[in-house]
């Protein structure tokens, strides 16, 4: 799922604050709590290049389980945090069962912008590229989206298609794309 294990993720200080793992009744406090969780999840996923989280699995990861404090986020609480992120446009449920979620540490629109910039700077306008090339090709190794989840790439490309800046063709699994 991840590319390579880099150095450990540096959790923010709040992560070692015990009340952080308890849902706060005060609405103001609750709001900042959710915001802090949102940014923690985003930076965590960015660090490990995670694009989707399986909730059941993620509960056991250090993200939601602070072993030092012996504190963990319960499943309903984690779901609530993710619902907050969905409302914020920083996450999206993959299925209606709400078991797996996209984490948009970059939204598809932001990815699309990055792709267009890259295509323009490398002079690949009007060139047909395969999606595989974009994600796993040698040219894109230095780019952030290298090794990206194909579904996320397709979502980002669809944004460009809607804007009329790209065209996607081909069958499932062998799509090609042409940037204008």
């Amino acid at each position: 799922m991840t590319t390579q294990i880099k150095e450990e993720f540096q959790f923010p200080k709040t992560y070692s604050f015990p009340p952080f793992f308890t849902p706060q009744p005060n609405s103001n406090t609750r709001h900042s709590q959710l915001q802090k969780w949102s940014s923690l999840i985003q930076s965590y996923c960015r660090h490990y290049k995670l694009y989707r989280l399986n909730l059941i699995d993620a509960i056991e990861t250090p993200l939601f389980h602070n072993a030092a404090l012996k504190k963990r986020v319960s499943l309903p609480e984690a779901r609530e945090i993710l619902e907050f992120m969905v409302g914020d446009g920083r996450a999206e449920w993959v299925d209606s069962g709400k078991g797996v979620v996209w984490i948009w540490w970059r939204r598809p629109e932001e990815w699309a912008g990055l792709l267009v910039d890259w295509v323009e700077s490398t002079g690949q306008k009007n060139v047909v590229l395969t999606v595989y090339e974009l994600v796993d090709g040698e040219d894109s190794v230095s780019q952030e989206w290298h090794g990206m989840d194909t579904d996320v790439m397709m979502k980002s490309l669809n944004v460009l298609v809607k804007r009329g800046k790209a065209q996607v063709f081909g069958n499932e699994g062998q799509e090609g794309v042409k940037f204008f």
Binding site: K13, T14, S16, F17, P18, P19, F20, F21, T22, Q24, P25, N26, N28, T29, S32, Q33, K36, A68, L69, K71
Partner: protein, 626 residues
Amino acid sequence: MFFKPLDLTTALRPSLLLDETLLFVQDAVGLYEGKYKIPNYQDGHAYLTSHRVCYVAVEEPRKHSVAIDLKDIDRAEYQARFLKSSPKITLYPKPRKDIKRSGSRSTGASPSRSPPPTFLSTRSQSPLAPTSAPQLKSSASTLVNATWICPICSFSNPVPSNFDPSSAPAASLVPPCLACGIKPPFTTVLKAAINAAASREGTATNTVIPDYGNGGLSQKSGTSNILPLYPAGSLSCPRCTFVNHPSLIECEICGASLGNSTPLPASHENDYRSESPAPVFEQGSIRNTEVTECVKLSFRGSGEKIFHERLRGALIQRKWLLHNAPPAPQQPSQSSGLPNLAVPGSTNGSPAPARSPAPGIAGLEQRGLEARRNNEVVIGNAFEDLEALMASAKQIVALAETLARESGMADEGSAETSAVLSESAAALGMVTTKDMLGSGAESLYLSELARNLAEYLTDDRKGVLQKEGGIMSLIDLWAIFNRSRNGVELVSPSDFQRAAELWEKLKLPVRLRRFKSGLLVVQRYDWSDEQTVRQFQDWLSELRQTPPSEPVPWDWRTFGRAITAQETAQRFKWSVGVASEELEMAEDRGILCREEGIEGLKFWGNYITLDPNSGDINSGISNIVI
């Protein structure tokens, strides 16, 4: 008889002297001196104690409160309701031993003098206003109806009511002749006044003095013993005794002014109680002033009968005499009797009550027997009748406490409450009970109970509130308070709550507070949430300074440590319920946040809202609070 200054308690009730007990309270009472209302003393509470009659006005009670010692009161008379005149109780002073009719008093500015109406119109002042007199000098016996003859036109003019021969600048007050307008020489008026005063001395008691300053109604009701002298309502001239028609102002024959029934201009009364007929004194403070005539308490509400009854009882009992009296004669062994109560004795066989210093076990047994006999006598005396019980209440309380202590009733757990209980003996004389109050006066009962409670709470000797860290739940207070009443005249919970709700309205130094959960607590009036929050913040920053006893996985320099309700209760001497409510209040304000875990609920400084890296929590929190 003097109006004495009155000390008020924090709850604005009279603070009682040693051995003084409260007998009765009545609200909606007005104060009169002689026939005249005393301004600012027209709506207040009358407190009857075993030593005094106290009056506390509703408005500005600290300024307008006086007391009259019962020992100065000769007798009290009851006067029933008559038409619009409220029922009254008149207190007559004992005659002073050094009776000297000083000139200034006898001819002082009595409002009840009889200036003719023509003279009235020349003066802008109220005829009832004493001009500069520091003392109240209203007295029927000082009425003067003098005239002076104008040396120019020989018209007989009345001497002005405020004419005072003894005061030097009086010459300036002498008005000109009503007929020719020439000012008379001062001596003429002075002579006339002295003559009139001298001639009055003999006839003062049986002559009907026309009383201009008195309205029609109060004249009828107030001086009812005079009425029979007027057949068919006609007025006899005080100078020539001609019987005039009652509607005349001046005598038909000699022109002297008659105390006629022309009502006073209404403007004099509007300020106070317009429907009441009695006139009003214009007087600032009546403290420390002497009462020469009598004082009336006007009961606009009700309760006059019970007040009168108990006042008479108190006058007969003369408790004030006991103030410095030696204690009631006691059994010889009384002084050493109480501590001996626990000595068990099975001595049926020692017949002699005489104190023979017997040695050894026999002596101990004898002493035990004596002690028990003594207790028997004390209890027997006490229950002989209720009066005796009241008198020996203190002894009985002391006895009951000793018995309780020795029977092991006070176990360690309730040591604190029993301490409060035993101290409550001091409060025995202070409680307001329902039968101390006028009939049907539910609101009065509640307000008195509220004041009672406020006193109980703020009493430094007991320090009930201080012991509980300045805040305690209403239920706890109810329990302690009712226990302090020793099982009699208990207060019902609903009365208690309603009385507590009155605190704010009565501006008492305690207040009732409702927490979010509905818990009702009692705290000092000036205590606010901000102060509690500040206490919490100080504590939290203290915790960030002190390293925890065992290593913790978080950065204690930043986050400090969690606090629980128990710890908080201990630190601030609150009850746990109050502590958790206060913590939740602080959480509500965003000062604290919670941690739920297997160890229970803990509270932390709110580092979720605040950036823990940005240092000072206090500055951040104060921003939030604002």
